[in-house]
């Protein structure tokens, strides 16, 4: 082989290997910094107590509860809609019909809309339109209850934002259910709905779970949509109704590191909160990856 070719070959190889090295080390440095910065402060007490002394000490319990409530309500609203849409796309709609293409197009669009635009939508639609409308109907506009940012509107905004995540992963699972299962069910006289309910869905429950977990992980990590749709800097008490504002982990990191009165003094809290958020999203993501791996393996065996 001519020398020139060899040299080019080696340089292509080493250049691409070097990029891989850069990416891996960047991830490693990021993780390392946050783990070493946060684990001193991280303790059981940090997780289970409320912020104290004007947010300069204490824990992040309200933020954890707020995040939990947010993703819980989000899942209750979003996962069924996503699952049913996936069922429609996979079982009922003809693959290339206008309707299914329209819905797919909408799902792709939703997946690409920036998170902050969802926030604007939440403000314009939920808070100003539905919320204020509800206030007018309930109390004639005298009491401002729903027409302001709160937990419910933030959760619903988040549910719409994570809809594509659920749809895509449930669809993958539905496709992984072998056609023979459905045919066998039909041959035994089951109707379409019975087949879906008793054969297809039980066999794709992993996919529904994966979708839900990925949506939760995305919802827990995304801050932009809730900046002005319900998250609060500090609240003395936990939210006790859907119309209350709430504290949230990601938002807590943001305000503590940019808007708190003494940014340097709370560095430890910031790192520890980031570490908690990272642990939360990673646990969720790895569970999802594991479940998806199981689906794919099942898919390839059959």
């Amino acid at each position: 082989m001519p020398l020139k070719k060899k040299i080019i070959g080696y340089s292509v190889y080493s250049l691409s290997a070097f990029s891989v090295f850069i990416i891996i080390s960047a991830v490693a440095v990021l993780m390392w910094t946050i783990i070493t910065g946060g684990y001193h402060t991280l303790s059981w007490q940090f997780i289970t107590s409320a912020p104290k002394d004007g947010m300069t000490s204490g824990g992040i319990f309200p933020a954890i509860i707020g995040t939990f409530l947010l993703v819980l309500i989000m899942s209750i609203a979003g996962v069924p809609i996503g699952t049913i849409t996936a069922i429609y796309l996979c079982e009922y709609a003809k693959p290339n019909s206008v309707i299914s293409r329209l819905i797919r197009f909408a799902v792709n669009t939703l997946a690409g809309v920036p998170a902050i635009v969802f926030g604007l939508f939440g403000l314009g639609f939920f808070v100003q339109f539905i919320g204020s409308g509800a206030d007018k109907v309930i109390s004639g506009g005298a009491v401002l209850k729903w027409g302001q940012p709160n937990l419910l509107w933030a959760s619903l905004t988040m549910a719409f934002m994570t809809l594509p995540v659920v749809i895509i992963s449930v669809e993958e699972a539905l496709k992984a259910v072998p056609r023979e299962y459905r045919e066998a069910s039909f041959a035994l006289g089951a109707t379409k709905w019975e087949t879906i309910r008793k054969v297809v869905l039980p066999n794709s429950i992993n996919g529904v779970l994966t979708g839900a977990i990925l949506a939760v992980s995305r919802g827990a990590g995304e801050v932009a949509p809730i900046l002005f749709v319900g998250a609060a800097y500090f609240l003395p008490s936990l939210p006790h109704s859907l119309s209350d504002q709430f504290m949230e982990l990601g938002y807590h990191i943001f305000v503590m590191s940019t808007q708190s009165t003494n940014v340097e003094a709370t560095r430890g809290i910031q790192y520890a909160t980031t570490l908690v958020l990272l642990i939360l999203t990673f646990t969720l993501n790895f569970t999802a990856i594991f479940l998806r791996y199981k689906i794919r393996r099942k898919n390839s065996v059959l």
């Binding site: 993780m31 809609i81 669009t109 690409g112 809309v113 879906i196 980031t274």
Partner: protein
């Protein structure tokens, strides 16, 4: 009567049963099936409805920008409505139209004068929303978004493409097993965490290296943003490299080409549409990302060419100011207008990427 009508299909079947057997062989009407199908298909429409609602409500809130005195303007200028839906071009067109309009009837029309003043304001180079004489120049914001995205792309594209080539061509198994989880981890890191890291660690680190004046600036934001777009570009590129048929590679090897020659001259050209889509999606992600730019770019609405100066992006502006904007105010509407521009821009990018992925790639591998 009503009862009979309601039960019509059932009755038909049972009476038909006696008359001829052909009808019973047809599909039997079942209420539960019917309801299930209708419910499922109507729920499926929710995503479509949400897309439309986003369109409608963001436009609706941005709309008053062009109609400051609402009640008057709404009745006077209905025919202008469609042109105010605002991506840049139509805003520019709108401005010309309004200007000519204004020249024609300068004496009496206050709303259109106001409107043209506002549009001139929007095209300005200054963003000072909170002052006695608020200035809503969008130029520095659009510039800021583009600047950060382009820096991120300049760093992210080569890294992600080379890494994808490495995985699909050269990588020994162990390297693949290290890289894939690393990318998955990177994709799973919330953007607020990347922003935090950039703001606290990366900014100081880079200031020590480059010695720039402002700790938080477009470059720091761009580097952090590269973290966010590398997984997107890498994943889509890797998918499209994988989708190149094995026979292409085998043919190339059979002709005596080496691994890297095959990679550069056979696999890469065949996967071009997919790579292009990957880049578009990465760009859309960078352009629409909020938390990273909000935390790491310094947020000063400047339009200098220096990449080490702070910038303020469109997304960061919405994120930082919407909390304080008063509902129905001009500031509020302008922030929604920025949202409209963001929406349209990412919408077009995604649609384009879709075209590249779906059509070109399929056509290509089916032999044109």
């Amino acid at each position: 009567m009503d009862n009979n009508l309601a039960n019509d299909p059932e009755n038909d079947l049972s009476s038909g049963h006696q008359k001829s057997k052909i009808i019973t062989l047809g599909k039997k009407f079942r209420l539960s099936e019917f309801l299930a199908e209708k419910t499922i298909s109507s729920v499926a429409f929710i995503s479509f409805a949400v897309m439309i609602l986003i369109f409608v409500f963001i436009f609706k809130e941005a709309f008053p920008v062009f109609f400051p005195s609402q009640n008057k303007a709404a009745s006077n200028n209905i025919e202008l409505k469609q042109e105010t839906y605002g991506d840049d071009e139509s805003v520019a067109q709108q401005q010309k139209k309004v200007e000519t309009n204004e020249l024609q009837n300068q004496k009496n029309e206050t709303p259109s004068e106001k409107r043209s003043a506002i549009i001139k304001n929007l095209k300005g180079r200054e963003w000072q929303p909170v002052s006695d004489e608020p200035k809503y120049g969008l130029t520095p914001l659009i510039y800021g978004s583009l600047k950060v995205s382009l820096i991120a792309m300049a760093l992210g594209i080569p890294l992600a493409l080379l890494a994808a080539i490495f995985t699909s061509v050269f990588a020994p198994k162990w390297a693949k097993e290290l890289l894939k989880p690393a990318i998955e981890i990177l994709a799973g890191i919330p953007s607020v965490v990347i922003g935090f890291f950039a703001m606290i660690v990366l900014a100081t680190f880079m200031q020590n290296i480059f010695g720039f004046q402002y700790r938080l600036n477009a470059f720091v934001g761009g580097v952090a943003m590269a973290f966010a777009i590398i997984p997107v570009i890498y994943t889509v590129t890797e998918d499209s490299l994988d989708a190149v048929p094995k026979s292409f590679k085998e043919a190339s090897f059979a002709l005596g080409a080496t691994k890297w020659e095959t990679a550069l001259f056979v696999v890469l050209p065949a996967a071009t549409p997919g790579i292009f889509a990957a880049i578009l999606l990465g760009f859309g992600r960078a352009f629409g990302e909020t938390m990273i730019v909000l935390m790491a770019t310094g947020n000063a609405a400047l339009t200098s060419l220096n990449i080490f100066e702070p910038v303020r992006s469109m997304t960061a502006t919405i994120g930082a100011e919407m909390g304080e904007a008063v509902f129905g105010d001009a500031h509020y509407s302008v922030l929604f207008l920025i949202g409209v521009i963001l929406f349209i821009f990412t919408f077009l990018l995604n649609a384009l990427a879709e075209v590249f992925i779906r059509q070109k790639l399929i056509k290509k591998f089916r032999g044109y």
